[in-house]
């Protein structure tokens, strides 16, 4: 087995837990992602113990409450007087499982809320694990919205150019080249400058996705146009024309099914751009704003330089960005391998 195949298998194995984690963040996290605890800002990840202070072994793992020992440095120490055992399926804050099943069960927590922070806390004492999982939802929302706009725009322009031909085709393809030649991130910033600084969550998600899609669609349009020109001169399309089928009928019956594999592969190739775009825009403070949670927004914590030297657990979203991109790249590779002729 070649290592490329191993990578693809690894990506497939990783993709499932990632999707599961993103779909039920509340179940997996011990605290609400927006719950602040200002007495516990930048607390380090809880250490899970089996042996207590007397050296006695316990089958049930437990954690200690954190206490500040240096107010200026923000250093914490475990308070060993009282231990908090961890339980599976603990009742905690209420939420909707998968968005519609009311529940209050959480996978792993101590029965006392606000003690167990498996990945530590951020500047406002919010649980980093909960925020990373909840942030996945925002980031993936931008991904799916972006992919939808990207496909729609790319297929529409490509189909129009391919079906119409002539000067429409030339004009649209020149426009594609124009967009491709633009400095992408600079243009996104220029476009973003025209929008209000603070926007509600959904508006931010849609506009972030649309901004990124509006400068990344040309490869999709080019590929679709090429395929349509190919099919246009194929025997069966000509036969359909001779039978008096309208261009729309030919497009729907004879072209759309043939375009689907390419369009799918192309969206997987483009997917990392949307993840990365959201993270970069939010990191640069022009995507999701404070209060909304996303991977890029979490990385803004870095404005406090102590995050790098002392509170490194706040960089957890970075690992998730890497894993997601790794999965998408390798799944894209698999699609390309299955159908190498159709990848632009």
């Amino acid at each position: 087995m070649s290592s490329a195949t191993i990578m693809i298998r690894l990506a497939r194995m990783l993709a499932l837990p990632l999707v599961l984690a993103a779909s039920c963040p509340d179940f997996l996290s011990p605290a609400h992602p927006d719950l602040q605890d200002l007495n516990l800002n930048f607390a380090p990840p809880s250490r899970i113990h089996f042996w207590d202070a007397q050296g006695v072994f316990h089958w049930r793992p437990f954690v200690y409450r954190m206490e500040v020992i240096d107010l200026l440095q923000g250093t914490y120490q475990e308070q060993k007087e009282h231990s908090y055992p961890l339980h599976l399926f603990v009742a905690g804050y209420p939420y909707e499982f998968l968005g519609f099943i009311p529940s209050s069960t959480h996978l792993l927590d101590s029965t006392t809320a606000g003690v167990f922070h498996p990945w530590g806390t951020d500047d406002l004492g919010r649980d980093v694990l909960a925020r990373t999982l909840a942030g996945a939802r925002s980031t993936l929302l931008v991904l799916f919205l972006g992919i939808a706009i990207y496909s729609l725009l790319g297929v529409a322009v490509g189909a129009l150019a391919g079906m119409a031909g002539g000067w429409t085709d030339t004009l649209l393809m020149r426009f594609c080249e124009f967009v491709l030649a633009l400095p992408a991130l600079y243009l996104v910033l220029a476009v973003r400058a025209q929008l209000p600084a603070r926007m509600p969550f959904w508006q931010t998600a849609v506009l972030t996705a649309a901004t990124i899609a509006s400068i990344t669609w040309p490869p999709m349009a080019r590929g679709i146009r090429g395929l349509i020109r190919q099919i246009h001169s194929a025997g069966y399309a000509e036969a359909a024309r001779a039978l008096g089928a309208s261009p729309w009928q030919i497009f729907r019956r004879h072209m759309l099914p043939a375009l689907a594999p390419f369009a799918l592969a192309q969206t997987v190739v483009a997917a990392p751009i949307f993840i990365l775009g959201e993270v970069i825009l939010s990191f640069l403070n022009v995507g999701f704003q404070e209060a909304a949670v996303s991977w890029g927004a979490m990385l803004r914590n870095l404005r406090d330089p102590r995050v790098l030297t002392d509170f490194w657990w706040n960089l957890a979203p970075l690992a998730f960005v890497f894993l997601t991109l790794f999965c998408l790249n390798n799944l894209g590779k698999q699609l390309a391998r299955r159908d190498p002729s159709q990848l632009a």
């Binding site: 633009l182 991130l185 600079y186 910033l189 990191f283 330089p305 490194w312 960089l315 991109l325």
Partner: protein
């Protein structure tokens, strides 16, 4: 003649592109209310008349089409207006910032291209051996590491180990250093940003070069060269390396775009005062003239890069010269 036609076409394209970009940026910015002086309206120490006077002097009281045409007229004299924030001509600000960006971009491009071509070729030649498998692994991982992740990771490393400075261009407290000391200090500051910019370029070029070399390896002309008894070194350079460089050269122009985007992120992370950081600050300062200048500057750089790539391709591959359309 071919070369002249390509240059002419590219220059015309550049002009049209820049014009469209300025038009878009200008009119988009006319859609939002307010300008650079709006923030001062709330300042009780500033009189309303002063603000109006400033606006008049800057021409901000004119309607947008007039402003645009005036600006365009000055552009023909290479005067791109004044930055409201810096209080000096946009051209100077952009050129200074561009120079700082090139400190990062040129080494990154050179290292990424050289490394990618060398390792991509080795990767393809050893594709069925252990070395090829190792390269597959390295390629799969580096392709998933964008500049943002790398940049923050590198910053974390620097903060934990103190091996490299955390950002900026030079160490504080150096008064008129001698040239070697200055250069050494500058290079120390360059290591992390250049490294983070290089790795994604390297991964991309390596992937393309590997695929191109694999294609060439399967070509019959290679076997024919072997059969003619040519020296292995000559076969390698003339029959394998030269035709396989084609895709890398033609993608290195568009690659410049991703370098610009990558350097923007890295400049913000590492506090490097290049074009990206200037653009980013212009965005938040509502400095329209500077923002337009930066976008135009980066567009010119990009198209110039594409032109260079086209010319290189013509020089490298005689087959392209015969074709009707290269651009």
């Amino acid at each position: 003649m071919r070369i002249l036609a390509v240059i002419l076409k590219r220059v015309l394209q550049l002009a049209a592109l820049s014009l469209l970009v300025t038009l878009a940026t200008f009119f988009l910015s006319s859609m939002i209310p307010g300008d650079f002086f709006t923030a001062q309206e709330l300042n009780p120490a500033v009189r309303r008349e002063t603000i109006d006077q400033m606006r008049h002097r800057r021409g901000l009281d004119q309607p947008m089409p007039v402003q645009y045409l005036r600006w365009l007229g000055r552009c023909t004299r290479l005067d791109f207006g004044d930055s409201d924030f810096f209080g000096r001509p946009v051209r100077g600000v952009v050129l200074d910032a561009l120079a700082q960006t090139l400190w990062m971009a040129i080494p990154a491009l050179a290292l990424g291209l050289a490394g990618g071509i060398i390792f991509g070729t080795i990767h393809a030649i050893h594709r069925n051996r252990v070395a090829g498998q190792v390269f597959d692994l390295v390629s799969a991982i580096t392709l998933s590491l964008p500049t943002l992740v790398l940049g923050l990771g590198a910053l974390l490393l620097a903060a934990q180990t103190h091996w490299f400075p955390l950002g900026g261009m030079s160490s504080a407290g150096m008064q008129s250093p001698s040239f070697p000391t200055w250069l050494l200090d500058r290079l120390r500051h360059l290591v992390l940003p250049v490294g983070c910019l290089t790795l994604p370029i390297f991964a991309y070029v390596e992937k393309i070069q590997c695929a191109a070399t694999q294609d060439c390896l399967d070509q019959p002309f290679l076997r024919a060269a072997h059969a003619r008894g040519l020296k292995p070194l000559r076969i390698f350079f003339q029959y394998l390396l030269r035709p396989s460089l084609n895709p890398v050269v033609s993608t290195s122009g568009p690659l410049l775009g991703s370098i610009l985007s990558g350097s923007l992120v890295l400049e913000v992370i590492f506090g490097w005062p290049g074009l990206g950081q200037v653009t980013y600050n212009a965005l938040f300062n509502r400095d329209t003239a500077l923002l337009v200048g930066c976008v135009v500057g980066s567009t010119i750089l990009l198209v110039a890069g594409n032109l260079a790539a086209d010319l290189l391709l013509i020089a490298l591959d005689p087959r392209v010269r015969g074709q009707g359309d290269t651009a």
